[in-house]
C-alpha cells in the first residue's frame, strides 16, 4: 500500500523522540543502533513495552537490550513507563489495533508532547488521527536528518540503510 502520510518530525533535535521497536530493530540489524542514538544523546525515550519486544527477538534480543541499557546508563536515552491514571485510556484505545510497544510509544508522546519514531503504517496513521496529532518520523527519516545535520555522509546513510535489508522499494534514503 502507498503510504499517504508524510513524516512530521524533521529532527530529534527539534523535539525528543519516543522510539518504537521497529526502528530499534532496524538500526540494530545494521549495527548502527548505538551510533544513531548517540548522534542526539539525551533526546530518546524507550517505553518498557518496547524494551520487552526487543528482548523477545529470538536471536538478537539480549544484545539489543544490553545496548539499550548501556545507553541508558550513559544517559543517551531513558526508559519510560506509562502513567496509568493519565495515559491508560489512550493506551487502551490504541492497543485495540496496535501492538503494546507502538501503543505505549504513541501514548507517551501524545501526553508528554514528544515525537515518535516508528515504521508501521497503521501506527503512523494513529499518530495523525490523534488530536492534536503526534509528530512522527520513520527509520529513513532519522538517517535523512543525520545527513542534513552533517553527522553522516549520504554514502554512510545509504550503507546503513542497505544493511537493514528493508525490501520495500518505495522507501529509501535519497
Amino acid at each position: 500500500m502507498q503510504n499517504p502520510l508524510s513524516p512530521t518530525v524533521t529532527s530529534p533535535a527539534q523535539l525528543p523522540l519516543v522510539l518504537d521497536s521497529t526502528v530499534v530493530s532496524n538500526f540494530h540489524r545494521a549495527d548502527g543502533l548505538s551510533r544513531i542514538l548517540e548522534l542526539w544523546s539525551g533526546r530518546w525515550l524507550v517505553p518498557l513495552q518496547v524494551r520487552d519486544e526487543a528482548a523477545a527477538w529470538p536471536t538478537e534480543g539480549k544484545r539489543v537490550v544490553s545496548a539499550l541499557e548501556d545507553r541508558r546508563e550513559r544517559r543517551v536515552l531513558d526508559f519510560a513507563a506509562l502513567d496509568p491514571r493519565n495515559e491508560g485510556l489512550t493506551f487502551a484505545r490504541l492497543s485495540r489495533t496496535l501492538g503494546q510497544g507502538e501503543s505505549a510509544t504513541i501514548t507517551i508522546a501524545y501526553h508528554r508532547h514528544y515525537g515518535v519514531a516508528l515504521d508501521d503504517y497503521p501506527a503512523q496513521r494513529a499518530c495523525h488521527r490523534l488530536v492534536p496529532p503526534v509528530p512522527w518520523t520513520a527509520t529513513e527519516g532519522l538517517l535523512q536528518c543525520a545527513v542534513a545535520e552533517g553527522y553522516l555522509t549520504r554514502d554512510q546513510a545509504r550503507a546503513i540503510w542497505a544493511a537493514m535489508g528493508i525490501l520495500d522499494l518505495k522507501r529509501q534514503v535519497p
Binding site: P84, A92, R96, L98, Q100, D120, Y121, P122, A138, D168
Partner: protein, 385 residues
C-alpha cells in the same frame, strides 16, 4: 479523560484472583509489602507505571486489561475463576483461554465480521441417556451435512460452522482436559489441553461439544464447566452423556459397522489390535475410544475392551502402522477463522504487524520474515508503504 486509582485497583484485584495468587505472594514476587499490594487494590495508593508493567507480566494480562472502565467479565469466565479452586494448579492456562477469547472478540469487532450462528440449544429436550446422546449426535451430523464421514478437523468445524469458539491451550500438570464457558456475548467457547495427543484432543472437543448442546444452557447450572480428566468410565450422568455424544459424533454407527464388516470380511472374521488401531486412526480417535464404541454397538465383549487398555500402547501401535501422530503442543492453537480475521485486518491496514503478532502469539520479527517470504502483498510486511 483520566482513570482513578479505585478502577485500576479493582482490575488488579480481579487479575490477581484470576491467576490464583494471594496479596502476600504477589508482594513477595514484586518486592512490595503485602500492605502495599492491598492499598493499591483498594485504590488508596496509586500504582506506578513500572509497577503496573510488572503486575501485567505476573498476571499474564496485557496492560490494557487494567484500564477497562466497564470490565467485560462474562458469567462463564467469572464462574470459572471463582470455582477453579487451588487444586487447579495451572490457572494461567485458564487466563490464557480467557485472553484468547477476548482477543477473538476484539478482532471480530475490528473487522466488523458477520456474526456466526449460535449452536442449537437442546437443554430443554430432556436428553439424558446414552441412547439420547446417540440421537443427538445423529441430529447434529444431519444438520451439519456430515453424512457418515470421519470428521477431519473438529476444532475448525466447531469454530466456523457450529459457532463454538474453539482453542487448544497448553495445560501444565494435566490440571484440566476441557473447559466450556460462555463469553460476554453469550457465545459458547471451548478449550482442550494442547498437550494431549491429537486423538485425545478430538475426543475432548467432541465431549465439550456435547456439553454445549445439552447442558450449558440448562436452568440452574453454571455458564461454564471444567473437565479435569475425560475418561471413558465417567460416572456422572452429564459426563457419561457427553462421552456417548462424542463417541457417536466421531464414530457414526453406520460408518463403524460398515468398516467393521469390511475388515472382518477381508480377515476371515478376525479383528486384531492392528485393525483396531487402523480403524481408530481413520476416525481420529484412540483405540480405547474405538473399542468402547464397539462395546456400545454390541460388537465387542466388554472384557476384551477392558483388557485392551492394559495390553498395548495405542500410540506405539499407530506409529508402527505408519501413522504420523501430531505432536502435542506447547503453544496455543488458534482456530482458522480467528487467524483469517486477524490477517484480513492486517492486510486492510486496520491493525499493525506487531498487533498481528500479538494476536497470533508469535514473535513479530519471525512473523515479518514469514510474511515477506510469502511474497505478494505481504512482501513489504510491517513497513511504511
Amino acid at each position: 479523560m483520566t482513570l482513578d486509582d479505585v478502577t485500576i485497583g479493582a482490575r488488579l484485584q480481579i487479575a490477581r484472583k484470576d491467576i490464583g495468587l494471594t496479596q502476600g505472594e504477589v508482594g513477595k514476587q514484586m518486592e512490595l509489602a503485602t500492605s502495599t499490594v492491598s492499598e493499591i487494590e483498594a485504590g488508596k495508593r496509586s500504582v506506578t507505571g513500572g509497577e503496573l508493567h510488572q503486575f501485567a507480566r505476573l498476571y499474564h494480562r496485557p496492560l490494557a486489561f487494567f484500564f477497562e472502565h466497564e470490565p467485560d467479565e462474562s458469567p462463564g469466565f467469572g464462574y470459572l475463576f471463582r470455582e477453579a479452586d487451588l487444586s487447579i494448579l495451572d490457572r494461567s492456562s485458564i487466563v490464557l483461554f480467557h485472553q484468547l477469547v477476548r482477543d477473538y472478540t476484539q478482532i471480530e469487532e475490528v473487522v466488523e465480521a458477520a456474526p456466526l450462528p449460535l449452536p442449537p440449544d437442546y437443554s430443554r429436550f430432556g436428553f439424558r441417556t446414552e441412547q439420547d446422546a446417540e440421537t443427538l449426535a445423529e441430529m447434529e451430523r444431519g444438520r451439519l451435512g456430515l453424512g457418515d464421514a470421519p470428521v477431519k478437523d473438529l476444532m475448525n468445524l466447531l469454530d466456523a460452522i457450529v459457532g463454538i469458539k474453539a482453542f487448544l491451550v497448553p495445560v501444565d500438570h494435566q490440571s484440566w482436559s476441557g473447559i466450556v464457558a460462555r463469553d460476554k456475548g453469550g457465545r459458547p467457547c471451548v478449550a482442550v489441553n494442547a498437550k494431549e495427543e491429537s486423538y485425545r484432543r478430538n475426543f475432548a472437543l467432541a465431549h465439550e461439544y456435547g456439553h454445549v448442546l445439552a447442558h450449558l444452557a440448562k436452568e440452574g447450572l453454571p455458564a461454564a464447566r471444567i473437565d479435569r480428566a475425560i475418561n471413558l468410565a465417567q460416572r456422572s450422568a452429564d459426563e457419561s452423556f457427553a462421552n456417548a455424544f462424542a463417541s457417536a459424533f466421531l464414530m457414526p454407527r453406520p460408518a463403524i459397522l460398515g468398516q467393521l464388516d469390511r475388515v472382518l470380511g477381508a480377515n476371515s472374521g478376525q479383528f486384531t489390535d492392528a485393525d483396531l488401531a487402523h480403524l481408530a486412526m481413520q476416525f481420529g480417535v484412540s483405540g480405547q475410544a474405538l473399542s468402547a464404541r464397539l462395546v456400545s454397538l454390541r460388537k465387542l465383549p466388554r472384557h476384551v475392551h477392558d483388557e485392551y487398555g492394559n495390553r498395548r500402547s495405542f500410540s506405539d501401535l499407530a506409529k508402527a502402522l505408519g501413522y504420523e501422530l501430531e505432536d502435542w503442543s506447547l503453544k496455543p492453537t488458534l482456530p482458522a477463522r480467528f487467524r483469517y480475521l486477524a490477517l484480513k485486518a492486517f492486510e486492510e491496514s486496520r491493525i499493525s504487524l506487531t498487533k498481528l503478532a500479538e494476536l497470533l502469539r508469535v514473535n513479530s520479527d519471525e512473523l515479518r520474515r514469514r510474511l515477506r517470504s510469502a511474497g505478494g502483498t505481504w512482501a513489504e510486511a510491517g513497513t511504511t508503504g
